[in-house]
């Protein structure tokens, strides 16, 4: 027992070089983690993919996949993509401005702490509660609705449950998410870069155009992609707002409820469509994220 601690450190490089059996044994302690992930993450994903190419009796079919391109599915996907793109752009632009405003203040001051805490709550906790918040604000008897009515502005409140309403509600968690993911990138900007620009005769515009802009661009675009994926996957808020199956996640809900009467594996097919979209987006995200950390690490 006393000798093993001394021997242990020297095992690591040897194991790496020889590979094979030794590195396999060394990897053993990671098995519980990967086994868990295999059962609760990889297996469900495989089930979705396999099931979307099978019909009720379990034989292989492409009929389901064809349903992905039906007019109905296409319009749902179109709606989802439009909503995600719109709110990703709004969220990332407004969020980046707010994040920059936060960074110009003290890094340990109360403003930053309060705003990051609010952002975390709205971006990651909200869901159902945010839907109620907006019903309370611009719903039929909402606070702002009544306020506007008092001023003589009568608003048709059904818009909250349509595209524009979704954009508003989604922005409410997209902007905070941008603040959270973009703050670290802005923190990586060094004041020396600005001083260097000034010493070389650059204006504020030159600095943003030639220095900060290009450095922040990968981080900004990767955050935008993350926001897109986030909006595309969001379920709770819109599910609490409306029973209509207007976006893909709620269409999946609808298909799951009607599963019994349905002939094909429609929920799985819609889910497969989501996997394809999100995988493309997140692949680009991961690539850009690597680039982003080159200067801002």
């Amino acid at each position: 027992m006393t000798t093993s601690p001394l021997a242990a450190p020297s095992l690591a490089p040897a194991g790496k070089e020889r590979g094979g059996r030794r590195s396999f044994l060394l990897a053993l302690p990671t098995v519980p983690f990967f086994a868990y992930v295999a059962v609760f993450l990889v297996l469900p994903t495989i089930i979705v993919i396999v099931e979307s190419f099978r019909n009720r009796d379990g034989s292989f079919t492409l009929d389901n996949a064809r349903r992905l391109f039906s007019a109905n599915s296409m319009s749902v996907f179109g709606q989802s993509l439009a909503l995600s793109a719109t709110t990703a752009v709004i969220g990332s632009v407004v969020g980046a401005v707010l994040a920059y405003a936060i960074v110009t203040g003290s890094p340990t001051g109360p403003l930053r702490k309060i705003l990051t805490a609010i952002s975390s709550v709205l971006a990651q906790f909200g869901g159902v509660m945010l839907a109620f918040a907006f019903i309370a604000t611009v719903g039929r008897n909402g606070f702002v609705t009544k306020l506007l009515a008092d001023w003589g502005l009568h608003m048709d409140t059904t818009w909250l449950f349509e595209f524009n309403g979704f954009v508003l509600v989604y922005s409410y968690f997209q902007i905070p998410l941008m603040v959270i993911v973009f703050l670290p990138a802005l923190d990586g900007i060094r004041p020396q870069w600005r001083e260097a620009t000034e010493t070389l005769g650059g204006s504020s515009w030159t600095y943003w155009r030639r220095v900060a802009g290009p450095i922040l661009a990968p981080a900004f675009i990767s955050s935008l992609l993350l926001l897109f994926a986030n909006a595309f996957s969001a379920y709770a808020t819109i599910a609490a707002l409306t029973n209509a199956n207007t976006v893909v996640p709620t269409a999946i809900r609808g298909a799951m409820i009607n599963e019994v009467s349905d002939q094909g594996n429609y929920p799985q097919v819609l889910a497969l469509g989501m996997i394809v979209v999100v995988t493309v987006v997140m692949f680009a995200y991961a690539r850009l994220q690597k680039r982003a950390t080159r200067w801002l690490g």
């Binding site: 519980p32 983690f33 994903t45 990651q124 869901g127 109620f132 595309f232 996957s233 379920y235 799951m256």
Partner: protein, 293 residues
């Protein structure tokens, strides 16, 4: 380079004398103004819906102040009406879920991440990929794939809400990983664990008495983010027909809007305070740069 700047340098040099300090002060003032304008506008956008929750939960349709919803919130644990019971069960389930999810998350992540850093660094990419995958696959897609798995779990264990903890551990995985990864980056795991091992510590001892105390604030922040995610989780619970806090609020909202709004506000505020406390906690976590294993 030199030829280009040749003409511009003298111009700059002349203007670099005394004015820049004034210029810089002016810019700082402008920055402050910009900061507060932005914060007030966006902050207003954040706060109006929250204030509306308060307004709508305390006013009846006639516009009179009523506090019945808030009284119901206060007596959630003791009241006998179906809504209170529903909420109480949901809240209890969610709290148990938080505890179980945190245990699973820490047990899975901390030893594995430590071991990978020490002995099998080539597996780090794989682990990062797995966490990115967990971030990529939408919850709603996981629900579709997990439904048959949960049918099996119902047979083997039970249909109890509590077993959602398995799915929730996957849900919090990428966020907890990022936080713990930053924590482990900041300490020299290798030296610390070798020191502990050569003094006769077991591997369990290394994890419990060396690694965890050293990445305490990372563990705390991983726990907080997981807590926020699990307490607010709706997708899995509602589509797999389990009862947690969010599904209970949603159900109550179908017939008692004021109570649902009051609860939404309370839970948002509680989450906010928790995360604010966390940020005060993690204040000391600065020295990130430097020795990385």
């Amino acid at each position: 380079m030199t030829t280009v700047s040749d003409s511009s340098v003298p111009v700059v040099a002349s203007s670099v004398g005394p004015p820049p300090r004034k210029l810089r002060a002016a810019r700082r003032r402008r920055t402050t103004v910009f900061r507060w304008i932005t914060v007030v506008i966006v902050g207003g956008f954040f706060l109006i819906p929250l204030y509306s929750l308060f307004e709508s939960s305390t006013k009846n349709l006639g516009g009179r102040r009523v506090w019945d919803a808030w009284q119901a919130v206060g007596s959630l644990a003791t009241a006998d009406d179906p809504n209170s019971k529903l909420l109480w069960v949901g809240l209890r389930n969610s709290l148990f879920l938080v505890a179980l999810t945190l245990i699973i998350m820490l047990v899975l992540l901390v030893p594995t991440m430590t071991w990978i850093r020490l002995r099998v660094p080539w597996m780090r990419r794989t682990m990062e990929f797995v966490c990115l995958l967990a971030l990529t696959i939408p919850a709603i897609v996981l629900v579709v794939g997990l439904a048959p798995i949960y049918r099996q779990i119902s047979h083997i264990l039970s249909t109890d809400t509590i077993w959602l903890c398995f799915a929730y551990a996957v849900l919090v995985l990428p966020f907890a990983y990022r936080s713990l990864d930053a924590g482990l980056d900041a300490i020299d795991v290798k030296t610390l664990s070798e020191a502990a091992r050569s003094l006769g510590s077991s591997w369990t001892g290394v994890i419990l008495r060396i690694v965890i105390p050293n990445i305490r604030s990372a563990v705390v922040s991983a726990c907080f983010i997981s807590l926020a995610l699990v307490l607010g989780e709706f997708t899995f619970a509602s589509l797999l027909n389990r009862q947690n806090f969010a599904t209970a609020i949603f159900q109550v909202g179908q017939d008692d809007g004021r109570l649902a709004m009051a609860l939404s506000l309370v839970s948002l505020l509680v989450a906010f305070v928790l995360l604010l406390v966390l940020s005060l906690f993690s204040h000391s976590r600065k020295g990130r740069k430097g020795k990385t294993a």
